[in-house]
Amino acid sequence: METFLDLWAAYGSTVTFAMVNALFALSTYAVLSTGVLSFTTVVFAAVGGFLAAQLSGKFGLPLWAAFPAAALGGGFAAAVVAFAFLRLESHWMALASLALVLITRVTALNAPALTGGVNGLIVPVRVEPLELAILLALCTVVFWRLHRSWFGLASRAVREDAAVASTMGISPYRIQFIAFLISGVVGGLGGAALAFTLQFISPETYFIGIAFTMIASTVLGGSFHWLGPIIGAAVFTALPTTMQAIVPQIEDVAKGVVLLLIMIFLPRGLIDPRAWGLKKAAKLREETEAKRAAERDAHA
């Protein structure tokens, strides 16, 4: 029992951050699974994070009231972003969303009344790992349902070939707009979760670091199934801790190399339903051939 407690104490924070990062990754996955590469999760996270921090700090809102507020804030920001950005061509969309991340930081830095400016904000409320696990589980259920619904099917179609999907009556704009709303809500929750975990946030908290963590987690885990971002976030969060334990001197280099190797050898990520399908097909072919050979033998 004691060993377990020690282990939890040592790696508990890694688990906690993995769960927060999983929320960011899911938010990115929400839009990526409809074929949109967007870094705006960071923006939604900032909105959710500062909103939750201010509500709990200034107005004494409890945790479970602050989370829905953060989700709403993130969702609203997402609606605005989607309205402005969805008509851009995909490459521009990626650039525009990255630019928006930079703008968000500058804006946050220059609005100290809302964000504490360079000095940041102390967040008086803390989220327990169990509460975080419940939040993540709730989000996961949503993504699981989405995956198995008409929206899931339509979003896969839009991602693979938006033009073809549109000639089947699926409006890519509508699907991607909904995806942005989901991304905003989950991103806002993630931002609040990060605020309640760190208990201190500043404009630097919601910056390029998160953008790359979430996109790397999503792609690493696999962006073709909701399980991918969650697994990816766990791996990507544990990576620095592991590297620190193994090669403390060149921790960052080692982290980069591992990321590189995974991408080169598993470019579609760790969780890839298509690869399972391909494997199944290969197996089926083998069996058919074996059967045919057996039949030939029987005839001979």
Binding site: D6, L7, T205
Partner: protein
Amino acid sequence: MSKASAAARTLRGVLAGAAALAIGYAGTAAAAPAAGEYGVGFITENTGPLAAAGVSYHRGAQLAVDEINEGAWIGQGVKLKLNEKESGSDAARAVQALTQFSADRNVIAVTCCILSPVAAALKPVTTNAKLPLVIYGATLPGLPQPPYVTSVVGLPGPQEVKMSKMLAETLKPKTVAYFVNADNEGFQNRFKAAQKVMEEAGVKTAGVVSILSADTDFTAPATQAMATNPDLIMVWTTQTPAAGIIAALRARGYAGKISASDVISPAPVFKKIGAALAGVPFPIVFSSEISSSPEAKKFVEGYTKKFGEAPDTYSAQGYTSLYLIAQAMKSLDGKPSREDLAAALGKASAVEYNIYGGLPMVNGQAEVQNSLVAAWTADGKVVRWENK
């Protein structure tokens, strides 16, 4: 977790600590912690934007641990062991490192942080974990919160005021232009303190040029400051901008007086900028070439031997943080708990062994008494500044 129970626990900790201290105090002469190796968590910043300073802090701490162990400074058989974890000046990574330290039963105290926001992020975590934290670098007022959070870094203010008065008297400038970090509250405070002194002395503000920490090109700000035609330019910014600004001012042909802060004191800054730094006064509390107390000399000697270069103001702070922890250890009996150690740290009225010629502590915050005004010579030595 409810706040009430946390507060209750904190209170219990404090009471227990106070009780332990009272017992310890009663028999100071007899106090000796049980022999053994005690871990001190050191959150390094050897990579990331502040790595240059981070390496110095780390080295100072390493040297202190060596000295403390070799001389059996705490007591016979009592040794400290530095456990390092890297944060890269990132708050999230620092929090992760701290929680890992708190899980390691062998770690009795942690020392950390150059950036105030990172220190602020660690405060609630360390208080929750009841793990004493000594801040070695961050200088935002209000960071220390005894017993769990203490700081060995003097707040800026007095040194800047002292130097500004000196400059106002000796240089007698009519106008001053200031460079200030728009995104660093510590330097804004230093700037305001200096400006107040100058204006009280009847020196007009010719202009204030603000820059950002991440800036690298200072040609335009230099042009802007020079256009105000000041008698003196005061540079209140973080290290890289300060070095860049002075280089740019000299490169553009500014021949007037410049002053700066202790950020330009480390040797690599001179190596980088060279003679342009010569004669630029800066306030400093420790200089390997000027500080002359026996403790300072021993520090410089040991450091130079171990690392092949002279220590700077950052290594001095890293060094001091370990001595404060050792001092608190020394006052405890038996196998010290984290709570006991925190209480001892919170109660400390001074860092007894220091290289500053005295370093009192008030409410867990070190206060600088003795500061000097120094400057680089053209051939790379730090000397007391004189108006030439």
